[in-house]
Amino acid sequence: MTRSRTRLPSAPRHAPAASQRASESEPESASEPEQLFLPGFEPSHAAWQKAYGESGAAARNPRNRSGIEIAPLYTPADWDSTRYMADLGHPGGPPMTRGIYPSMYRGRTWTQRQLIGFGLPEDFNRRLRTLIDHGVNAASLIPCNSVYRGLDADAVPPVLLGTCGTVVNTVDDMAACYEGIPLGDFSTALNDPSPFTLLALLLNVADRRGVPRARISGTSNQSDYLSHFVSNHMFFRIALPGARRILTDHIAYALEALPRWNPLSVVGQHMQQAGATPAEAMGLTLSSAIQYAEDCIARGMAADAILPRFTFFFDISISFFEEIAKFRAGRRIWQRVVRERFGARNPKSWRFKFHAQTSGVDLTREQPLNNIARVAVQAMAGIFGGLQSLHTDAYDEALSVPSEEAARIAVATQNILKEEAHLTEVIDPLGGAYYVETLTGEMEAAIEAVMGRIEEAGGMYRAVETGLVQRMIGASALAWQERVESGAQTVVGVNRYRLEEAGDEARPAPASAPAFRPPPPEIMARQVARLEAHKRARSADAVRRGLDGLARAAESEGENVFAAVIEAIGAGATHGEVCARLRAVYGKGEPLIVP
C-alpha cells in the first residue's frame, strides 16, 4: 500500500464525482495512475528542502516506537488522493481504513466501558451503580488475583484478597455483583479466561432470574490465552493444549446458544503493556486471531459464523499518530486476511471491532495529576483510530487501585472529548492527511513483517511454544527502558521537568480523593465465611456429579467442555473447584521463562 517517496503526484482532481470515477477505474492499484506534475510542486519542494536545511532544525529524523523514521514534512509525493479508493475507501466498506461502520460515531458513539474490580461483590455493585449514574453504559468486571489464578478465597493468603479485583467464587457472589442491574439490557464484559467460570456463574444468575441466556450480552475479555502466556501470565490457569481446547469449545457454545455474546477478544493490550512496540502488538494480535480462526475452522465452524463474533482489545500509548496509524492499518490488514485467507463473504466478518484502553505503562507516579493530560491524549488517539469501546485509565493508577474521584475523572475525560471537543462529528477526520496516510502504510508494512515472522515460525501457537514471541517482546521492553534511561524519550516529571521539592515526589491523590485502600481483613474473612456456608448448603452429590461430568467432557473428544462448566457451576461447584478439576486433566498453566 505504501508508495515510494520519489514518485510524483498526479494532478489534483477537484470534482468529487470525477475523482470517484477515476479511482474506481483503478481497482486495487493494479494499474499505475498517470504521473503528472503538480504545477510548481517540484521547485517549491526543493526550495522548502533547502530552507529547512538552512534553518538549523535537527538533521536527524526521529523514529517512532515501532522504529519508523518520521520525516519533518509529508506531501502529495508521499501519498495523494489518487490512491483514495485503493487505500481508504468509504467507512463501512473495504478496505475499512476509515472505520468499520458507515456512520461511525454519528450513528453511535463508542461504548464507555470502565473496568471495575475490588473488594466484595457488593463493593463492585456499588461502584457499578455510581458509574452508571455518571454515564457508563457497560462495565468490565475485574476479578481478584486469586480468581485469576483459578483459586477460591479460602486458598490464598487472606491479606491478598480483594486488593486488585472483586472476589467472585459462587453463583451467589455473581448475583450480588449484578444486584439491581437488568442483565438482559446491560453489556457485561467479564475478564475471564479459560475455563470461563465467571460467564458460567453469570449464566446461572440469568437462569435464576428467568432471563433467557440468549439475551446476555457482552464479551469474554480475556479469552486470548496466547497473549496471557507471553505477556503477563495473569489469566493463564490451564496448560496450553487445554486452554486451546476450551477456548474452541467456548466459541462453539456461544455460536449455538449465546447470540449476543462475543466469546473471543484477541488482545494486543497485554503484549504492548509488556513491552511490544505498537507495530509488534498489532502484528502479534492479528497472528493470534488467525490462529484462533484456523482452530475454529478445523473444528468445522464456518468462517462467516465465527468471524463476526471476534473482537479485539488494544493498548493506546501516548505516541499519538503512531497509534492512530496502528489502528487504521490493523483494520485494513484484517479485512484483507478474512477475505483472502478465510474467504469470508459476510461483510460483518470484515469488521475489525475493537475495545481500547489508555496505557497504564505511560502513566507516572511523579506528579500524578499530569496523567489526566496523558490519558486525554491517548484517548483522542484511540478515537481518531476508530475504536468501538474505550476505557480511560484513572490518573492515580501508578499509585494504587484507582480512587473513586480518579475513576470519575477518567469517565469525565471521555465525555469532554465526545461532547465538548466535538471529536465525533466527522468520520475518520485525519483521513487523507499526507502524514497519517503515509504512516498508516508504513505501519501496515511493519505489522505485516511481524506477521510474516510468525507465519514462518509455524503460526502463533507454535511461536509462543518456542519462546519466539516472548523474546521479541522482552527485547523491545529493554530497548524502551534504555530509551527512557538515556533521555532519548522524554517522560515529563521522570527524566525531565522534575520538581525538586520533596513534596512533589509521588504526591498522592488530592485530599478530597482519598487513595484506595484494600478492604480490611475482617471484611475478607466474611467473604471466606460465605464461601464456607455455600459449600455446606449445597448438595455434595450434585457437585460431585457435576465435576465428574466436567472431567469426562474434558477427556472426551466430542463433548463441549464449556457446556460442562456451566452444568458443574449450576450444580453448586465453585470457581476454584472447576479450575482444579480441569487442571487435573490438562495440567496447570506455567509461564515459559525465556532468557
Binding site: 488475583n145 486469586s146 485469576y148 489464578r149 490464598v156 493468603p157 491479606v159 491478598l160 486488593t163 486488585c164 496471557h228 503477563n232 501470565h233 495473569m234 493463564f236 503493556q273 509488556a274 513491552g275 507516572t364 507516579r365 511523579e366 501508578a398 499509585l399 494504587s400 522482552g474 521492553a477 529493554l478 527502558q481 534511561e485 517522560v491 516529571g493 521522570v494 509521588a506 498522592p508 487513595a515 485502600r517 484494600p518 506455567e590 509461564p591 521463562i593
Partner: protein, 141 residues
Amino acid sequence: MDHPPKVLITKIGLDGHDRGSRVVAAFLRDAGMEVVYTPPWQEVARVVRLALEEDVDVIGISSLASDHLLVPELMAALGEAGLGHVRVVVGGIIPEADAQILEEAGVAAIFHPGAAREDIVETVRALSRSARDAREGEGAA
C-alpha cells in the same frame, strides 16, 4: 577475591506481570551481577529456600498488585532461617502507607515506577556489600 554481587529477582503472591522484574534482572546482569531469576507466583518458603541454596546477598521483590503485603512474612521467615543478613528490596506499585509498613519490617530499599537504573544498580551493589559484611560479622560472632 571479590566476587560479583549475587541477587535473587522474584515475585511472590498472585500477580503475574513480570515486565518490571525481567527488565531489572537484565539491568543487574548487565551491571556485572550474578542474577537468579524466577517466574512469578513464588511462595515465601520457596524464596527463603532459594536464597539459602543460592547464597544470595540481596532479594529483589517485584510487586505491582498488592503482593508486597506478603513481604513482612518473608522478612520474618528469612530471620528464622538464619538469613538475617540478606537484604531485601521491593520495586513496583507500593502505596505510601504500605511503604512505611515495609520499611518497618526491615526492607532496605523501595523503588517506585520511574526509579533510575543507576540508582537501582548502585543501591543493590552497596546492599550486597553490607550483606556480606553482616554475614561475616555473624560468622565471627
